[in-house]
Amino acid sequence: MLKDITLGQYYPTNSVLHRLDPRLKLIVLFAIIVFIFISSNVFSLAFLILFIALFIIISKVPFKIYIRNIKSIVLIIALTTTLNAFYVDTGTVVLKFWNITITSGGIERAVFMTIRIILLILSSAMLTYTTTPTELTYAIESLLGPLKHLGLGNAVHTLAMMMTIALRFIPTLVEETEKIMNAQKSRGADLESGPLLKRIKSLLPILIPLLISSFRRAYDLAEAMECRCYSGGKGRQRMKQFKLGVRDYISIFIVILLIASILVINYLYSAGIIYLNVW
């Protein structure tokens, strides 16, 4: 159950996407997220789908790995889809029973929302599959770099280090939680049945040992870091240096093209030059 957590699961395939500058990838992801939400018509959304599909192929990460991500949020997708379908009442009435009406506008919105959520998940998953957490933290540290001039240099470094350590220890703590749960179960602890309050209470004997062992780990890790000459961000160097290369400039160009195309399509659609009528 807990093993399905895919957060920060790097999938090494050494594709072009893997070798791009992580800072660039992070900015592009933000751009894509913005564009997913401003693509308000069929054409620009289709265009985005095409682009993200292309990225997925380039990333060389098997498609079923992406699917796994979508599976975990099927419930959320289903919920937003139905809510949208019921609550939007523009367009012509398609279906009516009792006092529930489903309109063409509602269906349109529901389909749009579903596609948007899936695209959102796919594109952010793509970032974590193609970028190691360390690269990501580097990207964040580097993009927050200007804050150093405000005297926040130490805070930026500490934040990045905390993220690295958190990402590193998620799988370890998940494993440990499972061990503790099994240990408590083998002592007759009932974790899965009974009313909600009882089940929440039964988590206590899992959380407390987990907390105690995390403190021990933190202490050990601090000593290990000290032994490896860690003394904060000052004078620290990076093994991986990121310089924007040809590859990166090409992708910047492609992304700008993508943004421009969406803006043009949006304009053409709103001006009524291109249109699609399914109803």
Partner: protein, 282 residues
């Protein structure tokens, strides 16, 4: 031969609930450059405390510890001492910082502020030295215990230390992992001439050392080459330790009235001695 580490009249005590608990008292020992020393002792014998004194992680309450002549209690030598005396702990999970093997190994050199190219060279060398180069792009939590511990060792080796202190590095490993780690440690000693100080409670890991120190109650009880140390079974047993299995067998046979020479510590020696004894009988 000169000494890389000198511990001079050191006392050390822990403050536990405002009560001072002395661990070491007027303790002195020194370690020769390039040697392989094994420190044995039961829980609470002070061996881990001693280990942490060697690179300044613990500061002595009184007395001095010198690494290459540098006093570990002086803040200006702090980083340099930790670079020269690397330390590996028991639980590999709690020593790895990054989510990718090579990025973890790079942590030490990155802290020391080397050029990126130099860091790359050190990381590659360190990973090759522990036979983990092929795993450089893997996630540590997917490796076996022995592999994780070798990555942890690589993380220290990448700082190019002169001495490696290992505090029960094999205690949490399966037999295969133990063997892998011990092989790497021996090779680092022989090929890179790194001084090894290995703390363990596995007797068989002590057999091939240059020197064995047995500690009990914060004091050195025995100190010498393995053959000499293990020829005093009574003192070893009083310290709460076992003998290596071959030695134990010969010891038991001697107790039962059979004649054997002293200083049998390896399996081969034991086999030979038994072979001789048995052919004499026939």
């Amino acid at each position: 031969m000169d000494n890389i580490i000198e511990v001079k009249n050191v006392s050390f005590e822990y403050d536990i609930e405002s009560e001072k608990k002395p661990i070491l008292k007027d303790f002195s020992v020194s370690f020769q450059r390039g040697s392989f020393t094994v420190i044995l002792g039961r829980n609470g014998s002070g061996k881990s405390t001693l280990a942490k004194l060697l690179n300044g992680l613990n500061k002595p309450s009184s007395g001095k510890v010198f690494v290459d002549g540098m006093d570990t209690s002086l803040p200006e030598y702090e980083i340099e001492i930790k670079r020269r005396v690397g330390m590996v702990f028991q639980n590999p999970d709690n020593q790895l910082i990054a989510t990718i093997v090579e990025e973890d190994v790079a942590f030490g050199p990155e802290n020391l502020g080397f050029e990126p190219g130099e860091i790359r060279r050190r990381v590659d060398n360190a990973l090759k030295a522990v036979d983990m180069y092929d795993y450089r792009r893997h996630a540590p939590h997917k490796l076996s215990g022995g592999q994780k511990q070798r990555v942890a060792i690589a993380g220290i080796i990448a700082m190019e230390p002169r001495c490696l202190v290992l505090d029960e590095p094999t205690a949490m490993l399966d037999p295969k992992g133990r063997q892998e780690v011990m092989q790497v440690i021996r090779r680092l000693n022989k090929e890179k001439n790194i001084t090894i100080i290995l703390i363990t409670h596995y007797m068989d890991e002590a057999v091939n050392a240059d020197r064995v120190i047995v500690m009990d109650g914060g004091k050195i009880v025995l100190d010498g080459p393995p053959k000499e140390v293990f020829s005093k079974p009574n003192i070893i047993k009083q310290s709460g330790l076992d003998l290596p299995q071959p030695t134990e067998l010969i010891f038991q046979l001697k107790e039962a009235g059979f004649e054997f020479q002293d200083g049998i510590i390896s399996v081969d020696e034991c086999v030979n001695a038994l072979k001789r004894a048995l052919t004499q009988e026939v």
